[in-house]
């Protein structure tokens, strides 16, 4: 029987939890498509005097982490939350990606794990993650 829960997944040993924390940290650093979708556009379209954009296919992790500036504006939206930002300048994309990451990390409670081995009737014990500093991921500044 599993004893620990981290980010909604159960693990049998503390070593497995720590490995999961390290893996989570790596994904939060490198894999924005875990929590958001970013699309680019480069040619404005004017309809009825209003400017809009045709956004392309979703960008990959690598594309988002190193925007090429070949696109003029971007549409970025969250997978879990309802955030949807349109006509973003390239300089604003990273900020919005971090905002959506903070919300995602908070939702998964990535700074804590649970120990379920308790006496009957007692609540699970909440521990702070110790092997990695995850605090920066749940704060948006």
């Amino acid at each position: 029987m599993s004893r620990y829960i981290y980010a909604e997944v159960a693990y049998e040993t503390i070593e497995e939890v720590e490995a999961a924390v390290t893996a989570m940290k790596a994904r939060l650093d490198n894999n924005p498509t875990d929590w958001c979708v970013v699309k680019g556009a480069n040619t404005p379209v004017t309809v009825n005097g209003i400017v809009g954009y045709q956004y392309g296919d979703p960008l990959s992790d690598a594309d988002i982490n190193a925007l090429s500036s070949s696109d003029t504006v971007y549409n970025a939206f969250s997978i879990n939350d309802g955030y949807n930002f349109t006509e973003l300048a390239e300089s604003s994309v990273a900020e919005k990606v971090r905002l959506m990451r903070a919300s995602y990390a908070n939702w998964l409670n990535v700074t804590k794990y649970l120990d379920t081995q308790v006496e009957e009737g007692e609540q699970f014990i909440v521990h702070e993650v110790a092997n990695e500093d995850m605090s920066s991921y749940v704060i948006y500044e």
């Binding site: 159960a10 956004y55 409670n109 009957e120 007692e122």
Partner: protein, 416 residues
């Protein structure tokens, strides 16, 4: 923007108003030109080959503003149209204008509030909203009994993959596959909001009690709870889902059994601009009968909160229902252990809270997602590798893979 009302007017002016590109070929007999809406007091002959005059086009527009339905069709005092299709109101190349006081809504997770089936422009000042996903069901699987204490036989649904998953939210707008030249303009004050995902249920060892997940934003109902204090006898009767033959089932509405054998409480998604609600019962002062009343207490503004399942052999709780208020504030659950502020129903654009342990054999289900947001996960305990998943967020615009033009000065909740 309508054509000029006097002075010089050219075929090119008319062609551009009809959605054409300036300087390109056009004729007065083109369908899109004859399909323009004439100004008050003027008439455009829409019949192919029929006589027409340039002056007929003074003040003409490609825009068609939806009329507000008669007040007799209002829901909760709100003007509304349910599940509409663009071609019902405009011709190809036209512009459909949705006024600020109008709700376009869906009551089906698989049907968008507005289906775009022709090339056109949607100019939205109103509220276009998808249906929320139902909360996951805390139902025990039929024909599987209570596990014997100490037997390790926790198979009455506890380890069943996908049991108790919240259902996905529905889209606000769907552009049909193969439809090109679509423009969506969400104007200042306009909302385009996908439905929220339903919260996952809780199934807590030894799984004789389960709480239903919260309903997603968009008027979704909370999930059914189960347990010996209320619905067990009903659940063991005929007519309830059999996972083997029917797959995972969702409830039509949330039910909660009462400990005193009184009438069951029912949790319903909110109507337009209304919170989720439930029916509560109280004994009439005469003592002779129960009185039913509508109660909003923990009903979601957007996403409905999850709920704690009580301890082993205790009464169950259904998830709280989602509402249809825009944008809607977060709603916490009933206070039980540390649950109240954990498995909240999401505000507009906020995912539902994940359920947690409430001690011993108890845990809470996930909250329903706010507009365009996912539902929270329900707590199953540590014996299984995954918790009961929340439903996915409903999209603001389901584009079916086609390109379209988007501009936004209002609020969009959900993917585009």
């Amino acid at each position: 923007m309508a054509l000029q009302t006097s002075g010089a007017i050219s075929l090119n002016d008319i062609h551009v108003e009809a959605g054409g590109t300036t300087g390109t070929q056009a004729s007065m007999n083109d369908t899109d030109i004859r399909g323009l809406t004439a100004a008050a007091g003027r008439t455009i002959n829409s019949t192919a080959g029929g006589a027409t005059d340039f002056s007929d086009y003074y003040g003409a527009t490609s825009e068609t503003e939806l009329d507000l339905p008669s007040s007799g069709t209002n829901i909760n005092g709100q003007s509304q149209l349910q599940e509409i299709t663009a071609s019902t109101y405009v011709s190809s190349g036209g512009t459909l204008v949705i006024p600020s006081s109008l709700w376009i809504w869906s009551d089906s997770r698989t049907t968008a509030a507005l289906v775009v089936d022709i090339p056109c422009t949607i100019k939205n000042y109103g509220k276009i909203i998808g249906k929320g996903g139902q909360g996951g069901s805390g139902l025990r699987i039929k024909n599987l009994g209570h596990p014997a204490p100490g037997s390790g036989n926790y198979n009455s649904g506890y380890n069943t993959t996908n049991l108790g998953t919240g259902s996905d939210g529905g889209p606000a707008i769907k552009i049909n596959s193969g439809v090109s030249n679509v423009t969506i303009q969400n104007m200042s004050g306009g909302y385009i909001a996908g439905g929220g995902g339903g919260g996952g249920s809780s199934h807590v060892e030894p799984n004789n009690t389960g709480a239903g997940g919260g309903g997603g934003a968009g008027g979704a109902d909370g999930g059914v709870g189960h347990g010996p204090g209320g619905l067990q006898n009903i659940l063991n009767g005929s007519g309830w889902p059999n996972l083997t033959t029917q797959g995972v089932q969702y409830s039509e509405f949330g039910l909660i059994g009462t400990n005193n054998g009184g009438a069951p409480k029912v949790r319903f998604g909110g109507e337009l601009n209304e919170r989720g609600w439930r029916i509560t019962t109280s004994l009439h002062s005469s003592g002779g009968y129960y009185v039913w009343s509508k109660n909003y207490d923990y009903g979601g503004n957007a996403g409905g909160p999850g709920a704690p399942s009580a301890g082993e052999d205790q009464g169950p709780r259904a998830g709280y229902a989602g509402g249809r208020i825009l944008p809607g504030a977060r709603v916490n659950s009933i206070n039980y252990g540390s649950t109240a502020t954990v498995c909240y129903g999401g505000a507009g654009g906020e995912a539902g809270g994940n359920g947690n342990s409430t001690g011993g054999h108890s845990g809470s289900s996930g909250g329903g997602g706010g507009w365009g947001s996912a539902g929270g996960r329900g707590h199953r305990g540590a014996s299984v590798s995954t918790q009961c998943q929340g439903g996915n967020a409903g999209k603001a615009v389901d584009d079916s893979g086609v390109s379209y033009t988007l501009s936004n000065s209002g609020t969009i909740y959900g993917g585009t």
